[in-house]
């Protein structure tokens, strides 16, 4: 027994130099650990970011703009309001050698309907049937018109039918088998994920042979990782430390406007002061967003006039922010009969968005200045979102970014009157309700023509801003740090995913 142990230890010691050499060509530190290696287990961008290296969707969105491009499908068409046809790429193989066919696509979307495997119920349940006329054609028919169906196809990663059915859930959830540019090597939970280049990748083998992604949740530790050159690229640079990092000559800071907009959601429940559009306008004009950007966000944000970002279908370049004008706010309040103010509670999460709590505090100060009696109610996101779903708050801070790049779904979830039977208004926590807006949202879903649809979505967006159904604050800024010694060309993506095949030398 003792001998065995000694032999083991000696063997391990001998293996040491080998291990030390096995350092990866590219090391990336990120702020969020992977939850699972099942590509459908979690639909946050933080987890999809890992999956995008092992798997491909039918379509993809390459950096920097994130425009829809072919991936496992080479072309796609919306045949009519309900039917979508995808022509698949030939000659693609999964990492285990199995050929990729239409059967795998059908299997993937059917599995996505099972709550035990999938958090993509929304898109999967919208599918009524999947036909596979031949090995390289897939035809989806949806229950209702889903105009953004193809727009989400970069998020729905295709799994191998044969091995997925064979493996138990423990294996399936920890060892991904996809068609992606990188093959899975090792996942040591809490430490790192290692991957190696897939030499047979259909786009050609990626530049870096071995890649390691390290999740570091603590801000100051993540800073230390780049300062001590333990990582080549750092995503999620903590805002308070940006100046410190910029001073370091060995590190380059790369940033781009994020897709996520931060806004104050406001309702119009009859009987509350918010029912009067003048009150909503007064609140909007009392908030000094430029000051929030320069002080709370330290310049790492862009003021927003609307909730969708520039890349989203439905973004309207004509929309302008209301000016900051507290005097005008007071006048509007007086006009509406609230000269002496009223009681208002500002709710929000304190662990979800960049400086969320500080933004709420700033908004509270601005509203106090126009004479409102403000109560602040910020709390951890798990409790806050629970309260949101029971419509407890009339006025709160929240952020939104829709993975589909289409304002249609956002409008249904955020703006439409709360209607559980139709699945509308899930995130309309303040219960804003406007029958005209509801009609416009319903009508937009059936429009097939892309330009016509874009105009319809822009009209919804414009109306929501003009009627002050919400008060947009700013778009966050995604900040990365790149070690100059690493000699890499890194282009950030709009969705913050770290897709290693897009990183070049």
């Amino acid at each position: 027994m003792k001998h065995k142990l000694v032999t083991l230890i000696i063997a391990a010691m001998l293996a040491m130099p080998g291990l030390a050499l096995a350092k990866s060509d590219l090391v990336i530190a990120v702020d969020s650990p992977p939850k699972s290696m099942n590509p459908h287990s979690y639909n946050s961008d933080a987890n999809l970011s890992y999956m995008a290296n092992f798997f491909d969707g039918l379509l993809q969105r390459p950096a920097p703009e994130g425009r829809l491009a072919p991936a496992l499908a080479i072309e796609w068409t919306r045949k009519d309001a309900l039917t979508w046809e995808f022509k698949l790429r030939k000659g693609v193989k999964f990492h285990n050698g199995n050929p990729f066919t239409a059967e795998d696509v059908k299997f993937t979307f059917e599995r996505m309907k099972d709550p035990e495997f999938s958090k993509f119920l929304n898109i999967a349940n919208s599918i009524a049937s999947i036909e596979t006329p031949d090995d390289f054609t897939v035809v989806f028919t949806t229950e209702k018109p889903v105009p953004w169906f193809a727009e989400t196809m970069h998020q729905n990663f295709i799994v191998d039918k044969e091995s997925s059915l064979k493996r138990d859930s423990g294996d399936y959830n920890t060892k991904p088998i996809g068609t992606g540019a990188y093959k899975f090597v090792e996942w040591v939970k809490g430490s790192y994920i290692r991957m190696e280049a897939n030499p047979d990748y259909w786009e050609g083998a990626p530049v870096f042979k071995t890649v390691e992604i390290k999740p570091i949740t603590e801000d100051s530790t993540r800073f230390a990782a780049i300062a001590t050159r333990q990582a080549h690229i750092l995503s999620g640079v903590p805002i308070p430390m940006i100046e410190l990092i910029k001073k370091n000559p060995a590190i380059e800071v790369v940033s781009r406007p994020a897709r996520r907009a931060i806004y104050m959601d406001i309702g119009n429940k009859p009987g509350t002061p918010f029912a009067d559009v003048r009150v909503r306008k007064a609140i909007a004009m009392a908030i000094n967003e430029d000051e929030i950007v320069s002080t709370v966000m330290r310049g790492q944000a862009t003021p927003a006039a609307q909730v969708p970002d520039t890349a989203t279908i439905g973004y309207d370049p004509e929309l302008k922010r209301l000016p900051y004008d507290p005097e005008q706010s007071k006048a509007l309040l007086k006009e509406a009969g609230y000269e002496n103010g009223f009681e208002i509670t500002i709710a929000g999460p304190n662990d979800r968005y960049v400086n969320d709590k500080q933004i709420c505090e700033a908004v509270a100060r601005y509203l106090a200045r126009i004479g409102l009696k403000v109560t602040l109610d910020v709390k951890p996101k798990s409790i806050f979102f629970d309260e949101l779903s029971s419509n407890k708050h009339d006025f709160y801070l929240i952020g939104w970014m829709d993975g589909s790049y289409d304002f249609g779904r956002s409008a249904q979830l955020l703006l439409h009157t709360v209607d559980p039977d139709k699945g509308m208004g899930v995130y309309n926590g303040a219960m804003y309700s406007d029958p005209k807006l509801d009609e416009m949202i319903a009508a937009s879903s059936a429009i097939l023509d892309r330009e016509e649809r874009k105009a319809a979505l822009q009209a919804i967006n414009k109306k929501s801003v003009e009627d002050i159904a919400w008060i947009p604050l700013h778009y966050q800024q995604d900040v990365y740090a790149v070690s100059k010694a690493a000699n890499v060309i890194f282009t950030p993506r709009p969705d913050m995913w770290i897709v290693a095949k897009e990183i070049k030398r």
Binding site: I9, S36, L121, T174, A227, S389
Partner: protein
């Protein structure tokens, strides 16, 4: 004796029951896991579908009874997030935490006793005063501040030690160890120092108090007057009698180090159980949280019982009846 052990085990079971019940009570106020489970774009109906699929629609007492029934069979449920067995998820992280706690307790015991003896021999010297002031810092400076200061000093400015993680590890059967590689050893120094800070100060002060009491005893004076060497007097005659309470405290705190190394682990991105717990709380992953807390309670209870029994064995004057 056998009766005493039986009693203690019964008490332990009651404590575990109470702990799990309190966990379930608290879960009712920590947010709805369905929101996370159903995904970002789920409609209200899809949320209900998920609620039923996970049995979260059933009343509180039914959920609790189900949990207890399964736990008795050793099944603590699956993590909501990773869909992997909750107990396995935690046990996978156990070696990292255990090695960290072991190193920390080793540092606090050896350094604590050594410094305690030094301080008790020359209590008025400058060195002793400095050590005592330092120990006050060890007790009062919070772990997270200590950890960040270590990182700033040794990793960022001096660049002697790596700032985070466990480094290269070696897998031996089910155990992944960092003790066998130079890289792994370098990585454990700072987190272990941080974690040991408080215990070190406590052990130092305990040793000092004990030593000062013992050094004034008659038998020590006799030993000095016999002309024995200072080493024999201090180590063999005095320290031996001081060590029993010190070792007891160290043993008891070992369980706490394993169960509550959360702050240290999160500062150093140490891939242990504490780190996992923090992420699980953030994501409302109830099965992992309750399993972790049950396990922590179990470890502390087991160590307590063990220390009590060892006590009786070491000191025959103590009897449990």
């Amino acid at each position: 004796m056998g009766r005493y052990i039986f009693q203690r085990i019964c008490q332990g079971v009651v404590v575990l029951l109470a702990v799990s019940f309190i966990c379930f009570l608290i879960f009712r106020f920590t947010g709805d896991p369905v929101l996370m489970l159903a995904g970002k774009y789920a409609t209200q109906q899809e949320r209900e579908q998920v609620r039923i699929a996970y049995g979260l629609d059933r009343p509180f007492y039914v959920q609790y009874a189900n949990f207890l029934g399964n736990a008795l069979k050793g099944n603590f449920g699956k993590s909501y997030i990773s869909q992997v067995d909750a107990l396995d998820t935690i046990l996978e992280r156990f070696p990292a935490t255990f090695e960290l706690a072991l190193t920390a307790i080793f540092i606090s015991l050896s350094a604590g006793v050594l410094l305690g003896v030094v301080v008790s021999i020359k209590p008025k010297s400058l060195v002793s005063r400095l050590i005592m002031a330092g120990s006050l810092g060890g007790i009062s400076i919070p772990t997270f501040l200590m950890g960040i200061l270590w990182v700033m000093l040794f990793a960022v400015y001096l660049e002697w030690l790596p700032p985070f993680g466990r480094g290269e590890t070696v897998q031996i059967g089910p155990w992944r160890t960092g003790f066998l590689t130079l890289d792994g050893l370098k990585h454990i120094i700072m987190p272990a120092l941080t974690l040991s800070g408080y215990q070190l100060a406590v052990i130092l002060r305990l040793t000092r108090a004990g030593m000062r009491e013992v050094l004034s005893e008659e038998y020590i004076k006799t030993a000095w007057s016999k002309g024995l060497s200072p080493f024999t007097v201090i180590v063999k005659h005095a320290l031996r009698n001081v060590l029993i309470p010190v070792v007891t405290i160290a043993g008891l705190s070992f369980g706490e180090l394993i169960a509550f190394s959360i702050v240290t682990e999160s500062i150093f991105q140490w891939p242990g159980m504490g780190n996992l717990l923090l992420v699980s709380i953030f994501e409302t992953d109830h099965p992992v949280i309750v399993t972790y807390i049950m396990m922590a309670a179990f470890i502390i209870l087991a160590i307590n019982i063990l220390v009590d029994l060892l006590y009786a064995w070491l000191n025959p004057k103590i009897q449990y009846n």
